[in-house]
């Protein structure tokens, strides 16, 4: 079995075989490093895995796009190499990044103007939701394009406020 892996920002190829609960694995990371090993993996409840690896006990909870390992949330994805396309990978790394309202709310204030250059983490707009005012931030550095948010607007969940190019 082969998978394309992203874990905590590190990417690479995972090859593994399963025999019952025994899991034999080999990682070839994109930076050239290798990790090989044998561990025991049991799904103790739907989405909850217990791993014993070199005598150590790991409890892992599966979430969308992430795995919580012993309480630490780690962004992790695993793709079938047959479904992978280079265009996806490129778009994810350098394409336009959308700033969207994660839930219904009201735009209180817009902090940037169309064409502004912003840093990663810079505030784009303040949205009030669940009785709190929250700053929506630029996911990466770039130029503000397609600024659709205006103070007083009501926004739906997932609605785009701006695009950072």
């Amino acid at each position: 079995m082969k998978r394309l892996i992203q874990s905590n920002g590190r990417s690479g190829l995972l090859e593994f075989t399963r025999e019952g609960s025994q899991l034999r694995f080999r990682f070839t990371w994109d930076d050239g490093a290798h990790d090989t090993g044998l561990c025991e993996a049991v799904e103790t409840a739907p989405g909850v895995w217990s791993l014993l690896w070199e005598g150590q006990s790991f409890e892992a909870i599966v979430e969308p796009e992430a795995v919580i390992v012993n309480g630490a949330r780690i962004a992790a994805t695993s793709l079938d190499p047959r479904n992978w396309s280079p265009a996806d990978a490129h778009a994810a790394a350098s394409g336009p990044a959308r700033v969207a309202a994660p839930m219904p709310g009201k735009v209180v204030r817009v902090l940037v103007a169309e064409g502004d250059t912003v840093e990663e983490g810079q505030g784009i707009a303040v949205v009030e939701a669940m009785k709190m005012q929250n700053e929506m931030q630029a996911p990466r550095a770039g130029v503000v394009r397609a600024l659709r948010a205006a103070a007083g607007d009501t926004v739906a969940a997932g609605e785009g406020l701006a695009t950072i190019e």
Partner: protein
Amino acid sequence: MFRKVLVANRGEIAVRILGALRRLGIPSVAVYSEADRAALHVRQANEAYCIGPAPSAQSYLNIERILDTARRCGADAIHPGYGFLSENAAFAQACDEAGITFIGPPASAIRAMGLKTEARILAHHANVPTVPGTSESLTDFAAARQRAAALGYPVMLKAAAGGGGKGMRAVYNEPALEAALRDASSEAESSFRDASVYLEKLIERPRHIEVQIFGDRHGNLIHLGERECSLQRRHQKVIEECPSPFVERHPGLRQRMGAAAIAAARQAGYYNAGTVEFLVDEQANFYFLEMNTRLQVEHPVTEMVTGIDLVEWQLRVASGQPLPLTQDEIEWRGSAVECRLYAEDPERNFFPSPGRITRYDTPFGPGIRLDSGVQAGYTVPLDYDPMLAKLAAWGSTRDQAISRLRDAIARFTISGIRTNLAFFLDILADPDFRSGAIHTGFIADWLARRAKPTPTAQQEIVAALVASLASQAPAAPPAPTAGSPWRTTGRSAQLR
């Protein structure tokens, strides 16, 4: 005692009050909005009635509807909890007029303490020190600029009708005043329907320490000690403890603050549970901030240290009984620390994270108390405050209480939504927090200086392995629910 009590609230506090009623053998009535049919408080009450659609203004704030429900089901008292109608003098008065006991202070005391500007004048009359500032609301920017200049920067803008950190802004210099005034007023308007704000001198690195007071209808007033609530994020308390490590180090301070709190309450003609909040500077001077005329969110830490059930006392006092204990009989044993669990994502600037809770494995152990309003399978609605639960630990020392709390947090698993649990794990381990060197700006400073936790290489590998194992045998997705905003968001995220 009462025949039947209606709880005019939701979430963990409604569940908490229902528990006290059950233990006293008093039949209980829950009310709920259309968004809360499946909520825990509805299921735990003896009776439950729908009082309107999801928006609070049409349900949990609907005075007529709540009173009508109480009359029709034969409830002779209403507990308002905290938030919603708990500090609404018109509601307390409407209860009186309907012949239903409002479990709380008299309407006149709520009114006297309701506007922060008037409460400051009242404290002044009771010889309780207040933070220098304006005792009337600001009319316009010109007035604000003049008063701020006279006080000297930094200053604090506060909503006159405020509470819960809404409508507050610290202003460090004049150029920042205009925008801050606009923000504070608009937040005050949307939170309290009252845009008026006033100014106070900003005390740097202050502690927020509050005193729990209790009075009966026979003129007895006592204090139950202090709570330290200095750990705040955006003026919202997140960790509270009893006793305060600062008060413990200053002999006589508890008695002096207690006496000041009682004096302020007496001036307002107060009875039932109340909390007088003080700002305390590094020299142990304390200043009256405001009085919360209701049960506080953080009341469990006082209960754990004094052994008193404050809700039971509220019920007894409201029914006309005298206070069960005198001041000399109050004892404080050990230490308790509480954290407020929110549906919010610390990795994304604490943005609210509502949605469906898929797992909710709660911790237990010596000295652990969980006040929770949710359970697995419950969908956290968008319409209300994102607080889910309060987790508290008692220990014979502060250090033991903190260690117990950290262990309980580590054993608490919540999936489906993001919470601030991991954030507490880190902050409770901080050496400055453990030594008690805290102030109201502590969390902001801490967030700025902390190193982002980095997972180990082993954890990276385990995450990659488990993500691969899980994608091999996908669990059957739950049946889609029409119109769920979470689903819509999820779909649109996949589409882009």
